[in-house]
Every structure is written in structure tokens, then in C-alpha cells.
Symmetry: C2
Subunit: 316 residues, 2 copies
């Protein structure tokens, strides 16, 4: 197997691209795909302050590494979810990544700062943990970005993630969710711009990036995620992809081109949003979903800053 | 397990409806679902002449039986595809069904009437047999219906079929195909109305209908279909359904309600269609796909009637 670019020995085959690459040329391929996504969807300008939401997993650490490599100004944001040992390992992995590279990292520890964790919130809400976790991440990453200032929050959602979410969305044909599924959610009053620069890269590519670049990431999946619906959708799509490489990309990128524009008007407009009576965030209800979750889980919000900086000297 | 309606012993459980039925109450359930589909999509009027496209399989024979039970005026149309023993068994199955019930049947035998069969057409076109077969069925059922007169051609596509086709269509986001995927394709110059009255019923329900009603149907799948993409889509959806009963119905019926209207304008309008220079059918090309297939397969069209009536005395 030879590298498509330099004809040297290849280390990874990408059936979807009908290509194989050696390590250095694979890095170029990944950077090119991210550049392409950033440009196609007008994600950033060169001098934007980008906050990268990191979990300690391969995708978010690879994303941070890629954005730094591309020369962007970044800060990592880590959210401690309080999911036992899983969260302990995640935090140490993020800290090690940032300190080795001399990068700026900010942390929000939910149990100490908000007085509850994801498992107890899920129990209090009688909802799956992934639901409480998603609500918390969406809200808190936005709040921290507003707190520290940001032109955009970047998340590590890759092509496999987006295709699986899209599959779930078309299974229900929720026009609102379909209208919101885009690699860029523009800034709006109370909302920082959200971007997903990895939408042109699959899970396997992100794992390979970490290997090639020597990134230590947390390999274990979150124990709460095992067996959830999202993973079922991924499996179903993997079977289709196995048989017809490129199906996932055609599904998601085809949606962006020919499906999304027909649903784009279904997301609630800014002027339909009111203000949460508890925290002031934009919401369609009187109290936003996150504040209801905090209340039910017996947590507290308080007025002190959400995030704390974790300092590590200067980049060498 | 008790019947939901009469509390007698149930013979079939339908997880999607969270219900079980005895034989007679299951029949009522099926008739109700078909009535509901006919009404919701304005498929027929009471005195319409309905031509039922039958293959010998469970769905199309069940459909014919159901439409007769509901009191509609029907004729069966059978198309001999020339797929070896499979087609021989299919023809005999259809004839036996019609003769036992004293129903009117018309047949078109492709090898004798058109001078080619599906396997040779597929080879000549270098396309999968299912593609040549689909093209032939669409064209010939329409032609026969025009020949004998019809208010509608009804086909036995069930919920599983439609969900799998929809899955294929969203994987590619072809706006044109999505715009055309509806249980009713209205009549247009050169086109008879096409309807799919079984879209609210799954494969298992159709098989159960045949068992309960004592219908002998061809159980073997077409040998050409084995391993095709469509079956791969069905499998993927079956896994989702297994985990969340009702997913397939939500997917397809949700599409009709909230997806289809956003694509309905994408099917080519009547005034964009020209006339096939070989057969006079509406087409977007100079020669329609079916006539190109006939030519390449070395077949002929001729001017004699396409279909022959198969007579069986009178219904007892």
C-alpha cells in the first residue's frame, strides 16, 4: 500500500477517499479537510479567539491540536462532569495535553462549582444521563465562553457523530432539529457562535491523527454512553459504510447541501426567545432547561465566575 | 397474550401498536389500517377501477385480497419477468390465487411479448437486475393500465419497503426522489395514478394476513434481490425497530407529514416532460429509459396488445 501523495509506505487506508497515506501526508490530508470545512462554512477569521470544548477524548484533543497547528488563537475549556473515575482520568488527560504543549486551559468542575454531578442530575430528572449531560454541556460551555470572551466555541464532533445525529433526526423528522443541524450555529443574543471543524473527518481519521501526533487521549467511552441510541445509529451507519464506503459523507454533506436549506427556517427565531427568569439565558420557556435541571438536582448557580484558569508556564 | 379487542387468545403481537390480536380481530386491524391509508391520501373513490400489480409474493396478493374484501372493483396484473423457475412459480401462484377466488387476471409475459427477460436486460445494460426490473415494472404496469383502462394502479409496497426506500433516499438526499416518494403519484398525461395502500402495515403483518386468510404465496425472495442494497437498508432499520418498536412508522409517516412537503416541488413538472420518440411515453430524455433497455436487450415492442386476459369462470 503506497501513499497517494509521496508514494512512500502508507500507514492508513481511507476507503472513502480511495486513498492511502504515510504519516506526514496523512497530517496534510487532515489539515486540508479541516481548512476546507472552516472555509466552506465561514467558521473563523484568522484572529478570532477560539475556545475549544475538550473532553479528553480523541476528537476534541485532536481538534485543539489541529487548530493550534493551523495557527489559531485557542483556549481549552474542560467541564468536570463528576462521572466517577471516568471524569478523573479525563481531567488529568486534558491537563497533561495542555501542559505538555504550554496551552491555556480553563476548567469548570460541576460538583464543586454547581453542587451536583451528571449521575445525580440524571436520577433527579429521571432522564438518561446523556440527556442531562448534553443539556449541561450546551449551557455551560456557552456560559464560560461568554464569561471569558470568545468569537466561537469549537467542538470535536466528527463526521460519524454528525451522521448518527442526523440519522436520529430523520428518524423523527423533527423540522426544528433538522434546521439546527449545521456545522455553524451563528452567534445570537446570549449565544456564542458554535462551530464543528471536524465534520469532514471520520472517527478513524481522528484516532489515527492522535496516534501519528503522539497525543495521549482517554480511550474508554463514557460508561453512561454504552448502549445508548446514538451508538445504535452509529452501528447501523457503519454497516452501510462498510458496504459502500463514502455513504456517511454523502449522507451528511448531501444533507447540508440539499436537505438543510429546506429546514433552515424551522429553528426558533431570536425574537421568539424569551429570557430565563433564573439565569437570564435565552429560552423558549420561563425557566431554561438547564436551570430546571440545576434546581431538581439540588445544585446552585451563585455569582462567582464559573471557570478557573489552569496555568502551566509558557509554551516551549 | 390476549386480543386487545375481544380478550380472546391472541395469535399475533404487534409491538409497534403495543397490542396483540386474535385472527378475526387482526383482520379487522389490517382492514382498518388500509382504509385509513386510502382515506388519508385520497387513493380511490368507491367505484374506481383498480388494477392491482401482483408478483405472487405475500404483499401484492394480500393487497388484492384486502381490496376485494373492502368491496373495490379490481383486476390483477401479472408481469412475467423471465427469471427462470422463480417466475414460473410466481405465475402459477398468481393464477391459482385468482382462479380459486374467481378474480380477473391479466398477464404480460416479457420473454414472449417483448423478446427479452430481466437477466439478459441486466447483462445488456451492465446494471444490477433490480434496476432493469424496476424500470420494466414501472413502464409496463403503466402501459397495461392505459391499455385496459384504470383509475389507479395499486402496488403492494408495505411500510418496511417504503421505510427502506426512504432510508436510501435520505442517504443520498436526492430532492427529486424525495419529492416523488409518496403513497400516491397522481395521474398525469401518459401516467395512470399509482397508489400504495399498504404503507401503514409492516412485512410481518402482511405475512400474518396471508396465514390467517389461507393465501398461498411465493415465499422465496427473487434470487436477484439477495444481498442488494435495499435489503441492507431493511436490515439496518430492523435493528433500530427491534430496539424501539414504532421507529419505522415514525420515520416514514413522519416524513410524509413533515419532510415530504418540503421536497414536493422537486419532482419534474409535467411541462418539463417531453415524449419518448420510440413509444410516446412521457420522459425527460429523447428516448425513455425503458425503450433504451428494450433496444439494448435486443427486444421489440410491436403494436399488438401487451396483456392477455386469463379467464377462470366465475367467482363461486
Amino acid at each position: 500500500m503506497k501513499c497517494r501523495r509521496c508514494r512512500g509506505a502508507a500507514v492508513i487506508e481511507l476507503r472513502r477517499h480511495n486513498a492511502a497515506f504515510c504519516g506526514p501526508c496523512f497530517e496534510l490530508h487532515v489539515l486540508e479537510q479541516v481548512r476546507k470545512a472552516i472555509k466552506a462554512f465561514s467558521m473563523f477569521s484568522d484572529n478570532d479567539k477560539i475556545r475549544v470544548a475538550i473532553s479528553g477524548g480523541k476528537d476534541s484533543l485532536a481538534l485543539w491540536d489541529i487548530l493550534v497547528t493551523l495557527g489559531y488563537t485557542t483556549t481549552g475549556l474542560y467541564l468536570g462532569l463528576g462521572i466517577g473515575e471516568y471524569s478523573d482520568v479525563a481531567r488529568e488527560t486534558c491537563r497533561a495535553f495542555a501542559s505538555t504543549r504550554g496551552l491555556e486551559l480553563r476548567e469548570v468542575d460541576m460538583p464543586t462549582r454547581l453542587g451536583f454531578d451528571i449521575p445525580s442530575a440524571a436520577m433527579a430528572m429521571r432522564r438518561p444521563p446523556c440527556s442531562a449531560c448534553g443539556t449541561s454541556k450546551r449551557h455551560l460551555f456557552n456560559d464560560v465562553a461568554l464569561e471569558v470572551g470568545a468569537d466561537a466555541v469549537a467542538t470535536g464532533h466528527n463526521l460519524d457523530d454528525e451522521a448518527a445525529v442526523l440519522f436520529g433526526n430523520v428518524l423523527h423528522w423533527s423540522a426544528e432539529y433538522l434546521g439546527r443541524q449545521h456545522p455553524v450555529l451563528p452567534a445570537a443574543p446570549g449565544f456564542v457562535k458554535k462551530v464543528k471543524p471536524l465534520v469532514r473527518l471520520g472517527e478513524r481519521e481522528m484516532a489515527a491523527w492522535c496516534v501519528v501526533r503522539g497525543i495521549d487521549y482517554q480511550i474508554d467511552e463514557c460508561p453512561n454512553a454504552i448502549g445508548n441510541r446514538h451508538l445504535g445509529y452509529k452501528e447501523a451507519l457503519n454497516q452501510i459504510e462498510e458496504r459502500s464506503p463514502g455513504s456517511k459523507a454523502a449522507f451528511f454533506l448531501g444533507f447540508l447541501e440539499r436537505g438543510w436549506p429546506r429546514f433552515a427556517d424551522s429553528a426558533p427565531a431570536d425574537d421568539q426567545l424569551g429570557t430565563c427568569s433564573a439565569c437570564g439565558s435565552p429560552t423558549t420557556a420561563e425557566v431554561c432547561t438547564f436551570c430546571r435541571l440545576v434546581e431538581r438536582a439540588g445544585g446552585h448557580r451563585g455569582h462567582e465566575p464559573l471557570s478557573t484558569p489552569v496555568a502551566f508556564g509558557v509554551r516551549s
